[in-house]
Symmetry: C2
Subunit: 199 residues, 2 copies
Amino acid sequence: MNKKDSSVEDTLCGRPIERVLEETTNFHGFPAPGVVIGAVMVDLAREQIGPGIEADAIVETLRCLPDAVQLFTACTLGNGWMRVLDWDRFALTLYDRATRRGCRVWLDAAKTAAHPAIHDWFLKRVPKDALPLETLLGKILEARRTVLSCRSVIISDFLRRPKKEAVAICPGCGEAFDPRAGDCCKGCLHGKYFKMDGA
Amino acid sequence: MNKKDSSVEDTLCGRPIERVLEETTNFHGFPAPGVVIGAVMVDLAREQIGPGIEADAIVETLRCLPDAVQLFTACTLGNGWMRVLDWDRFALTLYDRATRRGCRVWLDAAKTAAHPAIHDWFLKRVPKDALPLETLLGKILEARRTVLSCRSVIISDFLRRPKKEAVAICPGCGEAFDPRAGDCCKGCLHGKYFKMDGA
């Protein structure tokens, strides 16, 4: 992977690259290129908003990127600090919870053109087998921020989930739910994704 | 927390309780009661579907539970094995990817009635300050599966995200997107959650 010994480039999100790859593998199942470039994106956004800021995150795709945010920031889906939009755009925003000012970073298709392996992977120009993982990871760790764009933004739509206030028992299923949903829970409202086995 | 020395009850999801609490704190920010009871739920569902099964997960709330699934199974949001429904029901299903058979587990409000601290927390009957975290965690680790219900289910609505197939460049923002969304990306379609800073 052409790493340079003890250079500043050998760290990402405050840890050695090896640990980024190891944490990604443990959590995500393998060192996915999308999570690794995600770490580079988090690193850039974090640097842009400056030190000591409590940051919330918004991620614009379900693919890979939410795991980079969950691993390399304090924001997770379950603690409510990361919100995820199913927009299929490879972009994330970290922003100051207090001021709503932040930085949006995206993997820039135009900039990946200078890096054929990354370009082909990102735009799905070649089948997965044609691009060995090790090669692609090496290219990503060489290219780093040169394939990214970023902009300072102010969050205009807050997107944070409402605090849990009251809890009611659904007359449909008998389970606890948030009565702001209506007379019954969203599960009973939207229909089941399962049927009983053996029923 | 009234733990018994080296009893089988001192493990959860294949690790000592201390490690469950430590991993929860590292990932989620603190040993949240919702993540800890989530670990008990994962443990029960996992046992019900049996060993050696590659399981996908469906979670029915954004609160806490997705973090338990991400920490204590191989399923994460970013690797696509965990799907999350914003239904505000404290329930999860683990199911065999191949057969779609699985187990749905939920925190059962009726069963929590026998455990006042858990009942009050779950149904939000008392303010947070009135229930010290340490006390609540102790009660959860005492009660464990006695406050849960579970059912064998067959997944009828698959819910898995479609595989990335083609990538196009959005004429609106110039970013890469999935052309199945339409002529432009969902970000341009739905409107921004941010405005440019200084623009």
